[in-house]
């Protein structure tokens, strides 16, 4: 365990050393390609004056909302489409048509519809997670072993029981995996959305710092985005380990 953690940190150390070497010998100025120490100093400034915290919270706020909305609409819709073949036949082509349209392509429309502020960004994040979640849930429901539905019929499950004691637990392992993938996408999209539609968030921090020619701040923004992405992924991995999701690891 400890050794594994050491191995993980080796890659980061190599990256930092390479970065330092490049910054020192590339001949670029500190303003174009800042070295690690400058970036750390910049980070300290951003933390001290509160900018970093403010922008991080703004980004996380949008991701949380967009992601929750995607869960609240996407998973029930996925269950419905997974169970009702007629609906699936009607809706699936539409979903597959909308899915490959990048959420970023929606930026102009969403700004027009929702104005400036949190809402267009939340809408974009919702779009980015909604389709993958719906599709994965649908597939998970359709892949449930038909034997389980016969067991449910045999033991007189009500509609409610069929949903909450059969379908939901049966799809938990797949849905958790889908959540893990889509939260990463959501995090990718929030940064892009903030570069255009709003005046806060880590994406805005990067854009604003570029305009001020503060490449150290730009890199600070990137580093924080990476760290939070890593934390979100770890959080989702933890979620996959909780009791009710665990049976999927070996069974099936």
């Amino acid at each position: 365990m400890k050794l594994a953690r050491l191995h993980t940190s080796v890659s980061f150390m190599v990256l930092i050393v390479l970065w330092e070497i490049l910054a020192r010998f590339s001949g670029w100025s500190r303003y174009v390609f800042p070295d690690p120490l400058t970036v750390v100093a910049g980070m300290a400034e951003l933390i001290k004056n509160g900018t970093l915290l403010k922008h991080t919270i703004a980004s996380l706020y949008r991701v949380t909302w967009g992601f929750y909305l995607a869960i609240v609409f996407g998973i029930p819709l996925g269950i419905l489409l997974g169970r009702v073949t007629v609906l699936h036949r009607m809706a699936n082509p539409l979903i597959q048509f909308l899915r490959p349209i990048s959420p970023l392509a929606w930026i102009p429309l969403s700004m027009l519809w929702f104005g400036i502020g949190d809402r267009p960004a939340i809408f974009l994040i919702f779009l980015s997670s909604f389709f993958p979640l719906t599709v994965s849930t649908t597939i998970a429901v359709r892949n449930i072993n038909p034997t389980y539905f016969q067991v449910a019929a045999n033991f007189n499950f009500s509609k409610f029981e069929t949903i909450f004691r059969l379908i939901v637990p049966a799809i938990v392992p797949e849905v958790v995996t889908a959540l893990r993938i889509s939260v990463t996408i959501a995090w990718l999209v929030v940064v892009a959305a903030e570069m255009i539609a709003v005046q806060s968030g880590l994406g805005y921090l990067i854009l604003d710092s570029r305009n001020a020619l503060r490449m150290d701040y730009v890199m600070d923004g990137m580093i924080i985005i990476g760290i939070i992405g890593l934390l979100l992924d770890t959080l989702m991995k933890r979620l996959a380990k909780i009791e009710s999701a665990r049976w999927g690891a070996q069974a099936r």
């Binding site: 034997t147 016969q150 067991v151 019929a153 045999n154 049976w247 070996q250 099936r252």
Partner: protein
């Protein structure tokens, strides 16, 4: 009460396979109607254990599924205790070929599935414990199915079925996929359980020895379309043994021959 009557039961389905299913049906095309069960008339008495034998793919499982109400016949009717079967009921519990345990529920939760109507939780716990003890799974109550061996999974499913106190127990190849020793032990347990509880039990199997050791009666079906080829009541004392009972041995050879294996050992 749990007397079962199959009247003129037929099942036909539309062939959707692109490739033919077997060499015996070279002219089978997609879209053709395939007759699986051909006018089957059978009766099962209350408390009887009947083993249904037949070549693979003959429609044994289809027959069980129709009796359980999972499938509808295309002709004829099924009566259980005088009432026509219209759909799955918790009065006839199906024990699935491979595990039908719900993998996200513990052994105790699975066994408790048929006891959901009990409001008194202490009584429910007692019942669950009683049936878990009956199949000797004490100590495994909080295990998930995937943590159990194949034989233990079958026993847990048996406990779940018995806990409902159904009037009919339907078992589809209950020992398939078990290793030889577990198979023998499970077989003995099912026989003991039946001696003890006297539940009407239908067992589909392709194992002739299983059928002859377990059944109060055997029914041999022909290849597709399945018709009843032989019905034989087995009045042999238990435990049964082929070596000590030449009559049973002779019957065994006869059935082997009937199912197309003339030189069975």
């Amino acid at each position: 009460m749990a007397e079962i009557r199959l009247e003129n039961l037929s099942k036909e389905y539309v062939n959707r396979r692109q490739r033919r299913r077997s060499r015996q049906e070279p002219n089978q095309r997609p879209g053709d109607r395939v007759l699986v069960l051909d006018r089957i008339d059978l009766e099962f008495k209350e408390g009887e254990m009947v083993c249904i034998l037949g070549p693979s793919g003959c429609g044994k499982s289809t027959l069980l599924r129709i009796i359980a109400g999972f499938d509808r016949p295309t002709g004829g009717r099924v009566f259980i205790g005088g009432k026509e079967v219209a759909g799955p009921r918790s009065d006839s519990i199906f024990v699935f070929q491979y595990s039908g345990l719900l993998p996200w529920m513990t052994v105790a939760e699975n066994v408790g599935l048929g006891l959901r109507h009990l409001k008194d939780s202490a009584r429910k716990e007692d019942k669950i414990r009683e049936y878990i003890e009956m199949v000797e799974l004490e100590g495994f109550e909080s295990y998930y199915p995937h943590q159990l061996s194949g034989g233990m999974q079958r026993r847990a499913e048996l406990a779940r079925a018995l806990a409902v106190n159904p009037s009919l127990l339907i078992m589809d190849e209950p020992f398939s996929g078990l290793d030889f020793l577990t198979h023998m032990k499970m077989r003995e347990e099912v026989v003991n359980m039946h001696e003890f509880l006297r539940k009407t039990t239908l067992v589909v199997t392709h194992d002739i020895d299983d059928a002859l050791i377990m059944g109060d009666r055997i029914v041999v079906l022909s290849g597709r379309p399945a018709t009843v080829k032989l019905q034989q009541t087995l009045d042999f004392p238990r435990p049964r043994d082929f070596e000590r009972s030449p009559e049973l041995s002779r019957l065994r050879s006869e059935i082997f021959l009937m199912l197309g294996v003339p030189y069975a050992v």
